[in-house]
Amino acid sequence: MSQFSNPSLRELNNANGNNELNVIIDTFIAKLKRKQIVGSYAIALETLQLLKRFTSAARWTHVTELITQLRALGLQLERAQPTAFTCGNIIRRLLGVLRDEMEEEAQEIANENGMNDNNNGNNSSTSEPLISSMFNLLQKPEEVQTVTKLLSSRNKKTKTDFRQIAIQGIKDLIDEITNIDDGIQQIAIDLIHDHELLLTPTPESKTVLKFLIRARERAHRTFTVLVTEGFPNNTDSAHEFAKKLAQHDIETIIIPDSAVFALMSRVGKVIIGTKAVFVNGGSIASSSGVSTVCECAREFKTPVFAVAGLYKLSPLYPFNIEKSVEFGGSHEVLPRMDPDYRLDAVNKTTAYVPPENIDIYITNIGGFAPSFIYRIAWDNYKQVDVHLDNKSPLEKSVKA
């Protein structure tokens, strides 16, 4: 697939004389492949910077072309690092913004033409997602309608400046991501009580760190934090994390990973950071021990709080858990050995936590049960854009 889709974007850019764009994209992809950009936060911001340049430099005549190009770009980025879901999320968010705008415009045109038939009434539901999802269940798929509408409006000149909208959308996203912690921290105060014992198995999460510090500084809560050691991949960050907490006068204890079960009976809450949250409410955590910790917490009926920025929400469903988990290097686990006597080592660097092991997601727009996550996902993403590699019916029919 990539053999066909990648060059198409590149050729397109070449044809447009947009060599510069190719340079930016390929440099970014190379960086992703070499793991020179790590952490979902950094990847999200870098992706947005790339998108900013892309949208301002890309050439298109109709907004559908821009969408096609963005999808191709998104596919390329996803392929570069399939376990970094952030790139795809960001691009899908932007696509969602554009598609919303298209809808609006189409509606306006329809209104102007005085076509007030049933169709229109249904379509207005998109702006009210709460009703739409229930009613749309028995409806024709959304995109087909869009297609018909688009086809009718295709030849007309668009009034809206989509480039402006896209760039505004990107700016909004940047704002949202950089301020994500504030939103989450607001909730922190209500959740953490005095003299509580907390456990976190994800010391590399900055959101968790800020969450705890906020609870301490704003609400003057005194509590104790247990930090799992996270051997072998996260030991350094666990130490760093503990030091930072200690600087803020929070009692912090680093415990070995194996002690989690023994201590769980005393723990009041488990707080985990996430790398990605899927529509089913499951999430990918950035340390391989997290899934066991959550399993353990369920055994003891200890509540598990997952903190996640909205941009980590992914519209994908984890059909193949193995493919969504990242595997690191074997050298962290075992010393290098002679091929004759070699042992094989598997070093997962991320873990999948199933939805039933998480009690609540704390996002920058509020706290949600895992079973509700899909709703938030469809508020922000469009069904059409879930699979970037499928040629969507829209494109097919437009081409036809």
């Binding site: 060599n19 070499r34 091929p339 094989d344």
Partner: protein
């Protein structure tokens, strides 16, 4: 091409505003040696250069370039000598010459280079090096964090003005037996890792006992030092611009480690220092079939993370990872009943038939793999066709090879490009088969030190093959079957070509570890036999090699040639009154081109000088004493560049005595005495060497007469020595 590249650069710069700000001096350059100057991957390297052979379905050079890209290098010079056009073509079509490549790639054709030394001299002549640069060979697989290494380099550079290079050495764990094909001991100063001495070691499998000899002078001013042989030398060096000129000055330097590193650090004239950066990270060179095997397995087993297969280094790759270290590209067709075991990679468009079992193997693209086959620990390259019911264990099947049905490849087989094997053949252990008979010309393209060696060995090979052609041909036909196409590549012979590098520490070069022991006895025999033909030019061991030569009565043609040529050279120099440097230069060039040891050089020099003396006396221009003093005062310093340690000086004096006896002087005792005295006065000979020589002098009656005066002289020296020392004590 050039235009395209320039355009790319311009774009690059306009985007990366950082890059523009960087000083020209901070621009990092890298020199990649695409040629290994070895023939260990024969017969496959007859078709493709080593750096383009696929490791885990990715050409080897990609790993090196990927490392450089990650290191933030801005200019890469690829030095191509053998198969230069192939390398050039590959690079031109690769992503590295696209405008968004992270660095500028320049291929430099250097077809006449035969060693690392030649390349460095060529670099110096071209004057491209502007600042510190990375010297790396094109077969390195590593995940070393280069920035840390660079930081270490800069720190050391700031501390020590004489620091000229940093070597990257990777620490092998105790569980890692096969460290490298070229084992070596590094003697490092504790604390700052300055390399004090370097010495090659014999392989673990060879019978020789490893020993390290260090000149005590080198240890002066060193508080504590460590001797380490647990370091894998991965040939990643950061060199300062001073390095190429050193190669230029010492034009006999061939090898990077044995000649250059050892030469620089043990020379007090240069006074330069080399430091070692020791890391725990993964770094190896793919230098032999064994390390190819190990590295492939390591790579698939994710020991080189974050450099892993599913990061899809090349644009058109689509690998994805499954647990148990299985990597599959898209469009792989697997039959329902086939079993894919752990540590396996399969390229796209490959079909695998029913009942086939694959484990620990790497399968290329577009391979047709039949039914009920067992493939274990093997490497099948692109477009190979493998018939039903085969058993392939621990072997390599190169691109476009075709294997019939019921074929069995035993441990360590290498099936070359385009080889066709008929049905129901069994290839015995360690066989290497190539589609074409390897011609002598092709052999010559692979870096062997001196052209003379190649010629001589080639002629030998040709005669050998012509006599054995019929026999060989029939046996080959049997091996590949009636419909098969392929010739057995004589691996023993190929190994001998490697002697220049591995010296007497020879080991059979085969994929199979197990075979190593099997071949061991046989290999050591052939290596002693071969040593007479190929003399090592290392100064420290030349004496050792010399004796071997004298012992084994075979004086080959080239030595005789040298005796004549060398003599003529010196005589010419003496007659025309050349200056000393010119004479040395000529002699050294001659020595290297003929590949003879210093022993022959000394013989030639002494013979020439003694004849000159004889000429003076015979023509009665000068008295015996004056003649000797004149000649030896003027030309004695030549020996300083021909003998380097005590043993060699002893050898020198023995030669001198022999020559004078043979020359039939009237008063040869006087001649010898004066000659020695002159050399002693000019500080060519050291007292210790003289004593040693005197103590070990032969008691042959023909020398009795000549020793008279010298005996007194030595006696005098000794007393003088004692007196002076006692005087010192008095004071």
């Amino acid at each position: 091409m050039a235009g395209k590249k320039n355009k790319g650069n311009k774009n690059d710069n306009s985007n990366g505003s950082k890059k523009q700000e960087v000083d020209v001096e901070d621009r990092l350059q890298a020199v990649v040696l695409t040629d290994s100057f070895e023939t260990r991957f024969m017969p496959l390297t007859a078709v493709k250069p080593r750096c383009l052979l696929p490791l885990a379905n990715v050409p080897l050079i990609e790993y090196t370039l990927e490392f450089l890209a990650k290191a933030g290098v801005s200019e890469v010079y690829l030095i191509c000598s053998s198969h230069a056009n192939l390398v050039d073509e590959y690079i031109e079509n690769s992503k590295w010459s696209l405008p968004w490549s992270p660095f500028k790639v320049v291929t430099i054709m250097s077809p006449e280079a035969r060693s690392v030394g030649d390349v460095m001299r060529d670099l110096d002549n071209r004057g491209m090096i502007t600042g510190d640069f990375i010297l790396i060979s094109g077969d390195v697989v590593t995940n070393v964090d280069f920035n840390k290494m660079l930081e270490f380099h800069r720190k050391m550079h700031a501390q020590d003005k004489d620091h000229i290079a940093t070597m990257c050495l990777s620490k092998a764990s105790q569980y890692y037996k096969t460290r490298t094909y070229e084992p070596a001991a590094f003697i490092l100063e504790k604390g700052n890792n300055r390399c004090i001495y370097y010495q090659d070691l014999p392989l673990v499998s060879s019978k020789e006992k490893p020993s390290v000899e260090i000149d005590p002078e080198l240890l002066e001013g060193v508080d504590e030092f460590v001797i380490r042989n647990d370091l894998i030398d991965c040939r990643i060096d950061i060199c300062t611009p001073h390095v190429p000129p050193i190669f230029q000055e010492n034009f006999d330097y061939q090898l990077l480690r044995t000649d250059f590193v050892k030469g620089v650090i043990s020379s007090d004239i240069l006074g330069k220092h080399i430091y070692a950066y020791i890391t725990d990270e993964y770094a190896v060179r793919v230098e032999s079939w064994q390390s190819y095997d190990t590295t492939s397995q390591d790579f698939v087993g994710r020991w080189c993370y974050p450099m892993v297969l599913e990061s899809n280094m090349q644009d058109n790759q689509t690998y994805s990872y499954e647990s148990g270290h299985i990597y599959k590209e898209s469009n792989v067709v697997l039959a329902q009943s086939c079993k894919i075991g752990k540590c396996t990679a399969i390229g796209s468009n490959t079909r695998i038939g029913e009942g086939t079992i694959i484990e620990n193997s790497i399968i290329g693209r577009n391979c047709q793999i039949g039914e009920n086959i067992v493939i274990k620990d093997s490497y099948i390259w692109d477009n190979a066709v493998i018939g039903n019911n085969n058993i392939i264990s621990h072997s390599i099947v190169a691109s476009n090879a075709k294997l019939g049905s019921n074929v069995e490849l035993e441990d360590g087989c290498i099936i070359g490009f385009n080889v066709i094997l008929d049905d129901s053949v069994t290839i015995p252990k360690g066989t290497k088969i190539s589609a074409k008979e390897i011609q002598s010309i092709e052999l010559a393209t692979f870096g062997v030190d001196s052209s003379d060696t190649i010629e001589s060995s080639d002629t030998e090979y040709e005669t050998q093959s012509s006599t054995a052609t019929e026999h060989k041909f029939s046996s080959t036909t049997n091996l590949v079957g009636n419909k098969g196409v392929g010739f057995v590549y004589d691996s023993d012979f190929s190994d001998d070509e490697d002697d220049i590098v591995s010296g007497p520490y020879k080991v059979s070069n085969s994929l199979a570890h197990q075979i190593e022991d099997l071949y061991l006895s046989d290999a050591s025999i052939s290596s002693t036999k071969k040593r007479t033909k190929k003399k090592r030019t290392m100064s420290a061991s030349s004496m050792y090699t010399d004796r071997e030569d004298i012992g084994s009565e075979s004086s080959s043609d080239e030595e005789e040639d040298f005796a004549v040529e060398g003599l003529a050279t010196i005589e010419r120099a003496v007659e025309n009154n050349h200056d000393l440097d010119t004479a040395m230069l000529e002699l050294n060039t001659l020595r290297m081109s003929m590949n003879v040891s210093y022993h022959e050089v000394r013989i030639a020099t002494i013979t020439a000088l003694v004849r000159r003396v004889y000429h003076f006396i015979a023509t009665q221009t000068l008295g015996p004493k004056d003649a000797v003093t004149k000649v030896f005062t003027q030309w004695g310093p030549l020996f300083k560049r021909q003998a380097f340690d005590e043993e060699e000086y002893v050898d020198l004096m023995n030669i001198l005595m022999d020559t004078i006896v043979n020359e039939n002087f009237e008063r040869h005792d006087l001649i010898l005495f004066v000659a020695l005295n002159t050399l002693y006065d000019d500080d060519v000979l050291e007292e210790d060497a003289i004593y040693k020589w005197w103590d070990t002098i032969s008691n042959d009656p023909k020398y009795d007469e000549i020793k008279n005066l010298t005996a007194k002289w030595v006696e005098w020296l000794r007393t003088a020595d004692e007196e002076s020392s006692s005087e010192e004590e008095d004071e």
